[in-house]
Symmetry: C2
C-alpha cells in the first residue's frame, strides 16, 4: 500500500428523478480509472430514483407530515428523547429520523433513503462497467454514533469492493494470532470520501484512488455490516429497556427451570428488595417469607413484598414460583436456562 | 478543497518505553510538511510512554490477570455478554475491554491506552513544532460500533486540528438552514489514515495531506467528542437496563408529583398489568382496587397485584402512593416532573 488519493467530483449540480448517475458521474469525472472507489452520497441516489415525498413547506401540518413519514420508514423504535428518535429502518439501518432528510432539497419535499442501497450500488457499478470502468461503488450517508458527539459518513450500500478487511488469523511480529480485527473498510472509505465533500458545496461524489481490490464484480453488499438482532447489546435505549424491565415486573409469570439458582444471586436479590432478615433460605432453591402482621392491610403489604422479591430475583436472572398459605409464602427459585 | 493524499510512514519498527516519537516519526518521514495531519496509532504512544502491564504468558493465571487489569481500567460497565465487556474507561471512552490490547506486543505484556491521549497529542505536536513542523496530530485507536459489524479507527487524542467541521447555520442551495450537521472530522481522518496501515504491517503512522486548517496551536482535544452522560441514550446495554428496571420494581418507593397523570398512560398501565376491569378510576389521579377474596392467600395475592400495577404505572413514568384498607387499596397517581 503506497498511498491513497481522495478526489472530489465537481460539477454534478442538481439531480432529479430519472437522471442517469453513471452518465453524470463519468461526464464530470472523465479522469476516472479502473480500481477507483466512488463514494456517492445517498442523497443524489435517492433523488435520481425519485425517493422524495411531498410535505407542506411550513406550519404545524409540516411537522405532522414529517411524523407520518417517519412512522412509515420505521421498522422499530430503538430510543427516543425529546425530538430525537433513533429508529431502525426497514432496511435494518439504525439512524436518527430513519435517515429522512430535509436539507439540500426544496421545502416541499423530504428525501428518503434509497429503497435498496446495495441494489443501487450494484446498478451504478454495472452501468460504469458498461462504460469500460471497473470501479468500486459505495453509497454513503451521514450518521451519528452512540457515545460520541458529531457525525461521520458510513456505507449504506456497496458493490465492487469488499466490505471488510479481515486480519483474523494473521500472526503478528510477536507470534500472537489476531483474534478480533475485522476492519469495516467501506465505512472508512465513506468517511475518507466525506473529507472532500461539504454539505453545501455540491460535491456529492468523491473518488478514492489507490485502494487495492476495487472493481471486482462479485462482492457482498454493505448489508453484511448490519449487526444481527441476536448480537445486538443495544437493541433498545437505556430508558426504553428500563421501562421494559418495569413492564416485565408488572406481569412476571411464574416459572421454573432445571438450572439451580446461584446462592450469591439469591442473596443479592434479597438485599435489593430490602428484605434481608425477613427471608429464610431453608434450601438453596427455596425461600420462605413469614407473615408478621395478619390484619388485612398487613397481608396485602406482605403480598406486595413477595412481588418485590420476585422482581429482584428476576433482575438476577432467577425464575420463581410462589405458593401462599395462611402463615406466609414459599418461593421456589431456579436459575436461567443455560 | 482539491483533494487529499493519505501516505504511510514506513520504517518505524519496534517502539519501547522512553522512545522519542517526534524523532522517530520525522526521521522516517523526512518529507513531512506544514499543514500535514499525522494519524498516530495509540499503541506506539502507549509503548513509548511505558503504558504496559506484565501478565503471565499463558495459563489460567493469564486470564485472571487480564480480568484484574480490565477492572482497574474500568470506570463503569456499560454492557456485557459472554466474554465481551463494553466498558467506559477512566478517560470516558466507551470501548470493548477498555482498549486493553494483547496484540503486537510480547506475550508477557498487555498494552493499556495512553493515560491522556490529548496530552500525548499536544506533546507530540509541540515536539514536532520545535523541529519546525506545523502539523496536526491525531492519536487513533480501533473501536467497534453499536449496530454495525466490523471495526473502524477513531480519534482518542488530537492537537492542532479542529475536532469538528460545523455546518450548523449554513444555508443550503434551497434556502434551508442546516441544523444538525457537525462532522466529527478527526474521527474521519483517523479512519482515512487506517486505510494505509495494516495490523501486522508495522505502519503505525499515516499522514493526511491537503486538509485545510491543520497545524494551529490552540485547538480543543478529542475529549470534546465524548458525549456527556446527560445526553447519552445508551448509557447501559439493553439487558443491563432491563435488569435495572426490575430492580426499580423491587423497591419502587411511594412518590407524588405536582404533574397530573395522563389518562392514556394510566389506561396503558392497567392493561399491561392485566387488570382491566379490576381497577376503578374514580378520578383521573386516583385508582381503586377492591378485594374479592378476603382469605389470607387472597389478600396476599391482592397485595402482589397492587405491586404489579405500581410497576406498570412506573413503566409509563407515573409515580404512585398506596393506602390499604380492609376493603382494598386506593392508589394516588401523578405524572413525571416536567
Amino acid at each position: 500500500m503506497d498511498g491513497l488519493e481522495i478526489l472530489p467530483v465537481r460539477g454534478i449540480g442538481d439531480v432529479t428523478a430519472g437522471d442517469d448517475l453513471a452518465e453524470l458521474i463519468s461526464r464530470n469525472a472523465p479522469w476516472l480509472r479502473d480500481g477507483d472507489v466512488l463514494v456517492v452520497t445517498s442523497k443524489i441516489v435517492s433523488k435520481a430514483e425519485g425517493r422524495l415525498v411531498e410535505v407542506p413547506a411550513d406550519g404545524p401540518e409540516r411537522e405532522r407530515a414529517r411524523e407520518r413519514v417517519l412512522d412509515a420508514e420505521t421498522r422499530r423504535v430503538v430510543a427516543r428523547r425529546g425530538s430525537t428518535a433513533i429508529v431502525q429502518t426497514h432496511h435494518g439501518f439504525v439512524m436518527a429520523a430513519a435517515g429522512i432528510d430535509a436539507s439540500n432539497v426544496d421545502k416541499t419535499h423530504l428525501v428518503l433513503l434509497p429503497e435498496s442501497p446495495d441494489d443501487s450500488a450494484r446498478r451504478l457499478r454495472a452501468a460504469l462497467a458498461a462504460r469500460g470502468l471497473r470501479v468500486g461503488v459505495i453509497i454513503s450517508d451521514t450518521m451519528g454514533r452512540t457515545w460520541r458527539n458529531g457525525l461521520t459518513d458510513v456505507a449504506l450500500g456497496a458493490a465492487g469492493i469488499e466490505p471488510f478487511r479481515d486480519h483474523r488469523g494473521e500472526i503478528d511480529p510477536y507470534g500472537n494470532e489476531l483474534q478480533l480485527t475485522q476492519m469495516a473498510v467501506i465505512d472508512e472509505l465513506a468517511a475518507a470520501g466525506e473529507l472532500v465533500k461539504g454539505k453545501c458545496d455540491q460535491v456529492p461524489v468523491a473518488v478514492v484512488r489507490g485502494y487495492p481490490g476495487a472493481g471486482r464484480a462479485e462482492t457482498p453488499g454493505a448489508g453484511v455490516l448490519l449487526r444481527d438482532a441476536a448480537d445486538d447489546m443495544f437493541s433498545l435505549g437505556t430508558a426504553e429497556a428500563h421501562a421494559e424491565g418495569l413492564r416485565t415486573a408488572a406481569t412476571l409469570p411464574e416459572a421454573a427451570t432445571d438450572t439451580p439458582a446461584s446462592p450469591g444471586a439469591v442473596r443479592r436479590a434479597i438485599a435489593t428488595a430490602g428484605l434481608a432478615g425477613a427471608v429464610a433460605v431453608p434450601s438453596p432453591q427455596t425461600l420462605r417469607c413469614t407473615v408478621t402482621d395478619s390484619r388485612p392491610a398487613g397481608l396485602m403489604r406482605f403480598g406486595a413484598d413477595v412481588q418485590r422479591l420476585r422482581a429482584a430475583l428476576a433482575a438476577e436472572g432467577l425464575a420463581s414460583a410462589v405458593a401462599y398459605d395462611e402463615g406466609g409464602a414459599t418461593i421456589a427459585v431456579s436459575g436461567a436456562a443455560l
